[in-house]
């Protein structure tokens, strides 16, 4: 380990989250960067070890499925936080709320009158070929008209420093527990910096989640019985399911713990007998949720759950069918959807996208495969993608074939020069690419997490931040800079 020297920090090629130029921290990061530079090599090593020990003793793990076995791995974490000034975050937050509001109106429309198609804002063929549109959900009215109660939107920053929305995860987004635990670890490791009170807290998430779920109860007035439904210990996000259930003080259930009776009410089996369940925060995919309605061989779901939901006897978050809006082709239409449903200009930009279903776009994509990132409409976790500049001729040819065979399933975006942020390797701070996943809760009110989960590609030059593919994470600080604090104080007075 050696000492951090910001003058040697090579951040010229990309927008860096903390450093404006080598040796010049941004205003919001000054305090942190100065402190890290003051640390001796030993002290830096000590802090890094402290973080590793905290992660082990707190039992923060994620599960990977590898070579036929499940492995619990310690959560890969870097102690240098990523910092966003509060003034910028407030605008981002407003943009995310706007976006999710439009998406929920859109989903509700698709399962009712489909005005968006009649008014020719969304081509009918996009819906016709959507694999996540669930006919079983047509005509259902979930509480507050909300379908995507928990949304995780991925944000990236390009070379100019502009934040773009890269995708919206509306099915069962995960990662929020790591956001919360990253903060707990960082408080242990860098306590000095929290003393100033400029770092905004993140810990109201669990309370907001519980309040949102409780507000969905079909039996208002009674104390609602809320549960978290998990596929089980072998799921890669089981840690998070257990964590959220524990933090909310509700039961963590599996499909076999629940039963739907002839009265369409959902019960859980307890040692006291059967007990009515009002709200299910489900972390099981749509297709496995109910063998009566979807995949009949599913052993993870609850037979009759859709029946109970349709009858309004139980509330589900997220609503089945919400995934229709996180299709990567639908994504390209979100700015238009915001204008259509809210009559507002989008506050957050989309990454420019080419839809292979349109002939002009498709021709451009096929001609520029070596420059573009090509994504299938319905994959997640970074699978099934082509990253043009790093691809081989064979994979490009394969993708050209795939695109021609099923154009609706593919979209392409320019390869973004993702922003970097300092990450420690043997005491040296090196730039690594990052993204950001904030979580948005939609109930009677909309709440956005303060910041979100910052994921970092630990491999030099890599753009892949997924933990299953060599990614790690960092704490994310939304910091009031002195200007902001002064302005806020003046406003208050």
């Amino acid at each position: 380990m050696s000492q951090v020297n910001w003058n040697n920090y090579a951040c010229r090629d990309y927008y860096d989250e903390l450093m404006a130029a080598p040796g010049q921290p941004r205003a919001s990061a000054g305090e942190l960067c100065n402190m890290l530079a003051r640390f001796s090599a030993e002290e830096l090593a000590e802090r890094k070890t402290a973080a590793e020990i905290a992660i082990r003793t707190m039992g923060i793990t994620f599960t990977v499925y590898s070579e036929g076995a499940m492995i619990d791995r310690a959560w890969p974490f870097d102690i240098v936080p990523r910092i966003i000034p509060a003034s910028e975050w407030r605008k981002t937050e407003a943009g995310l709320k706007q976006r999710v509001q439009a998406l929920n109106l859109f989903i509700d429309d698709l399962y009712h009158d489909q005005k968006v198609i009649k008014d020719k804002v969304l081509p009918a063929e996009v819906l016709a070929q959507s694999v996540n549109f669930r006919p079983q959900c047509v005509g259902i009215n979930p509480p507050h008209g909300v379908w995507a109660h928990v949304c995780g939107s991925d944000l990236v920053r390009d070379g100019e420093g502009t934040l773009y929305v890269l995708e919206d995860n509306l099915r069962i987004p995960s990662g929020v527990s790591y956001m919360l635990e990253n903060r707990n670890v960082t408080k242990r490791v860098l306590p000095e910096l929290f003393a100033s009170g400029k770092i905004l807290p993140v810990d109201d998430y669990v309370a907001n989640l519980y309040d949102m779920l409780a507000a969905m109860s079909p039996r208002p007035g009674d104390e609602p019985q809320v549960v978290v439904l998990t596929p089980g210990i072998y799921n890669s996000a089981y840690f998070e399911h257990a964590y959220l259930a524990q933090q909310m003080g509700v039961e963590l259930v599996q499909g076999s713990d629940l039963v739907v009776d002839d009265d369409d009410v959902v019960y859980m089996r307890t040692v006291e007998g059967r007990r009515r369940v009002d709200v299910i925060y489900r972390r099981v995919d749509d297709e496995f949720l109910d063998p009566e309605a979807f995949n009949p061989t599913s052993m993870l779901g609850v037979a009759g759950l859709m029946r109970a939901w349709r009858a309004g006897k139980v509330a589900l978050a997220n609503a089945p069918g919400a995934g229709v809006a996180d299709d990567k082709v639908v994504y390209a239409f979100v700015p238009a959807l915001i204008r259509y449903y809210l009559d507002q200009e989008p506050l957050l930009p989309n990454v420019p996208s080419y839809l292979c279903m349109f002939e002009d776009d498709r021709r451009y994509v096929l001609d520029h495969l070596d420059e573009l990132v090509v994504k299938p409409a319905n994959e997640s976790g970074g699978y099934g993608m082509l990253i043009g500049p790093r691809s081989t001729k064979e994979t490009r040819e394969e993708f050209a074939r795939l695109i021609k065979a099923n154009p609706r399933n593919y979209m392409a975006q320019p390869t973004l020069a993702l922003s970097t942020t300092p990450t420690l390797f043997d005491g040296l701070a090196q730039p690594r690419h990052v993204d950001l996943r904030p979580f948005i809760l939609s109930g009677p009110e909309i709440h956005v997490t303060t910041g979100g989960l910052t994921r970092v590609a630990l491999i030099e030059g890599s753009l892949v931040v997924n933990s299953s593919q060599g990614g790690g994470s960092k704490d994310t600080w939304i910091v009031e800079t002195d200007d902001n604090a002064a302005a806020a104080a003046a406003k208050g007075a």
Binding site: G59, Y65, G152, N169, R171, I172, P173, S174, G175, T230, P231, G232, I233, Y234, N235, S236, A237, E240, A242, Q246, E251, L252, V253, Q254, G255, S256, D257, L258, V259, V260, D261, Y267, M268, R269, T270, V271, E272, G273, R274, R283, V284, D285, E287, F288, S298, M299, L300, G301, V302, A303, G304, D326, S380, G381, G382, N466, S467, S468, Q469, G471
Partner: protein, 335 residues
């Protein structure tokens, strides 16, 4: 508490107790083999009968020789009643429910399994066996102590206690059975000189020898030992004591009428048993033990029906075993 969680805790405790008592069972037989003169044909086959695993054993082994039987009961991972399998099952049952008990309990179960897995292949050799079995017993006792000392009185603890006491009662009858009809020759005269020896082995394997001396204050005699192991209200491993604890734990639960009534019936059988008659007839003793084991199975059945299944009117929504690929379903936005 969810029925599934209660059931997992109950089985975790049963498997831990089963591992410990299988170690005790092997230990008593090993000592008897050493103590009895060669002309008495005491074998290893009865251990297989006693653990109800004849079919599984004969599928893998031709002879009931010492090495095969000991390996089968300690180290065979394909045999689901072996010590290693019991510990693996305990661990799997706790894995999904570890959030309801202090973290150290999970770590201890995990450690116990890993330790035994490391040493079991060598541990079955005659020279190392005694030490290996003692280590298994000590590991299980450590865990029991940890639960006793750290887990709050509540539903989790009650279901753990129910599992442990029922398994202990069941396994203790099997250990006593070593002294019954299936093990020893029918001719009592031939046995007489060694009778004390045999009963002393049984006492020692249950860590009950000193307690017996303090309590009974007589030399070791069959009827007294049998009365002590079946009916003594104070010895923690006596059948009566286990059933007493079961009855008490049930009073802490809702809807306990049916299981409590079943426990009372079995307890009455034990308390009213004609010890003299049983002590003098190995075959009567064996029949009596069979009867008790049927009683224990009935207790389990009512516990299961009351607390674990408890939806007689409603068909099971899913089967308990889920395929690996489906576990993977969900959270596709994760990483």
């Amino acid at each position: 508490m969810l029925s599934r969680v209660a059931e997992n805790l109950y089985w975790m405790a049963r498997y831990i107790e089963r591992a410990e008592d299988t170690a005790r069972l092997l230990s008593v037989n090993s000592h008897l083999m050493l103590d009895l003169p060669g002309r008495l044909p005491l074998g290893w086959a009865p251990l297989i009968e006693m653990t109800g695993s004849r079919e599984a054993f004969t599928a893998r082994h031709a002879d009931f020789d010492e090495r095969s039987v000991v390996h089968f009961l300690c180290a065979d991972t394909d045999n689901d009643i072996s010590i290693i399998s019991a510990l693996a099952s305990a661990r799997e049952n706790l894995r999904t429910t570890r959030d309801v008990v202090p973290r150290e309990i999970w770590e201890e179960v995990n450690q116990l399994y890993l330790n035994v897995a490391d040493h079991v292949e060598n541990g079955v050799s005659p020279r190392r066996r005694d030490n290996f079995l003692k280590n298994v017993i000590r590991g299980c006792q450590t865990l029991t102590g940890l639960i006793e000392g750290t887990l709050s009185h509540g539903l989790a603890r009650t279901f753990i206690e129910l599992g442990r006491q029922l398994e202990r009662a069941d396994m203790t009858t099997r250990i006593v059975d070593v002294r019954s009809a299936s093990l020893l020759p029918q001719n009592p005269e031939e046995l007489l000189p060694f009778e004390n020896l045999q009963w002393m082995s049984v006492l020692k394997s249950l860590t009950a020898y000193q307690m017996y001396r303090q309590q009974v204050r007589l030399r070791v005699r069959g009827p007294d030992v049998l009365r002590f192991l079946l009916q003594d209200p104070n010895l923690p491993r006596s059948i009566a004591c286990s059933l007493e604890t079961l009855g008490y734990e049930l009073t802490l639960l809702p809807r306990q009428d049916r299981p409590a009534a079943t426990v009372s019936l079995v307890r009455a059988d034990v308390v009213d048993a004609d010890i003299q008659a049983l002590a003098h007839s190995p075959s009567k003793l064996h029949a009596f033990i069979d009867e008790l084991q049927i009683g224990f199975a009935a207790i389990h059945a009512t516990l299961s029906a009351t607390y674990f299944v408890n939806d007689d009117a409603v068909p099971m929504a899913t089967t308990p075993h889920q395929s690996q690929s489906q576990h993977h379903a969900g959270d596709n936005d994760n990483d």
